[in-house]
Symmetry: C2
Subunit: 194 residues, 2 copies
């Protein structure tokens, strides 16, 4: 098999396992078993566990960049794009209730580990923040764009955490509707609520 393909399989498997069980709790053997390759082969592609983590973070970053770029293309209003972001918690409902937010839980875990790659993981969170800031600027809220962006991002993290703890689908739906209402109030040409 081409080295690229094997490497890709390893990263994909590690991505899922890190998400489902956490980074520290996932062993080399776990990943090797998931991909059905020997640990020796494994070592050929990644010298250390940290290298796999870096590759997984990079993959997650690229995945999100691609997703955001797609929203940039397909939605023609910034409000619609922000709404896309908000609705992730519904689209990924099942996984979020089981494992939380892939980005939030990873940054939290790496921060506790004081892992060298924690800043790299934080960059994914920053990617979301900066993209949201751009949307709010486009929406005509330049002065409060960062404030609003962090508000939405923090909202998503809070919803994900409670969804995981309480497994309450209705709560997620209610929160989405509430923040969409808030967002609606920010669209120019409407009565502002705050």
């Amino acid at each position: 098999m081409a080295a690229r393909a094997t490497r890709q399989q390893i990263v994909d498997a590690a991505d899922e396992l890190f998400y489902g069980h956490g980074y520290a709790q996932t062993s080399f053997a776990d990943i090797a078993a998931a991909v059905n390759i020997s640990r020796g082969n494994f070592y050929y592609h990644f010298k250390t566990k940290d290298e796999i983590l870096d590759a997984v973070i990079e993959k997650r970053l690229e995945d999100r960049e691609w997703l955001l770029a797609r929203w940039d293309e397909t939605s023609d209003s910034p409000a619609a794009r922000i709404a896309c972001f908000i609705r992730i918690v519904i689209v990924n409902q099942a996984k979020i209730m089981a494992y939380g937010c892939p980005v939030g839980t990873l940054t939290a875990e790496l921060a506790k580990l004081e892992h060298p790659s924690k800043n790299k993981a934080n960059a994914i969170m920053a990617l979301f923040r900066d993209w949201l800031i751009r949307q709010f600027i486009d929406l005509g809220h330049e002065a409060r764009a960062e404030d609003y962006a962090l508000h939405v991002l923090g909202w998503s993290q809070g919803v994900a955490t409670l969804a995981q703890a309480f497994k309450d689908e209705e709560y997620i739906t209610r929160e989405v509707e509430k923040i969409l209402g808030w967002l609606d109030g920010l669209v120019p040409g409407r009565a502002a609520k705050t």
Copy 2:
């Protein structure tokens, strides 16, 4: 030394270590070293690591129960009590920026580990929820009490997650002011905002 005192020391040390480094990442040896006792002595008080975790969760639960009871006594309006809860993120700012929310990060970790004690950890989150529900009922919002309670709880989790990722003190302050403004709008005799 009295058995109770040693046990207490172990639980206290484990509590801090679990908070700072995570449960899975904290070893028997780490705790023993922190308390300065032998692993043998350790085993006399706790047969398994899970037993320590249970004790830590119970301690955290009792600590929070005590804190909420104190707020119930010292603040005479439900709005003031909810404000106390909101301001935890400022009072514990430094620790939250370093390690996140003690309750949220633990429930998230145990959920990924599918640990037998995860429900016990979730009970702390439920304690906050139920206490907040009571406050909002007292505030005269019986119909939407649960909705509001989860809103505040989710808010605190979101703020804690982003505070840890971005280490931005101003963001925390801003968010606290915003939600206190929202809370103010819910106090009877004022113009409701939603």
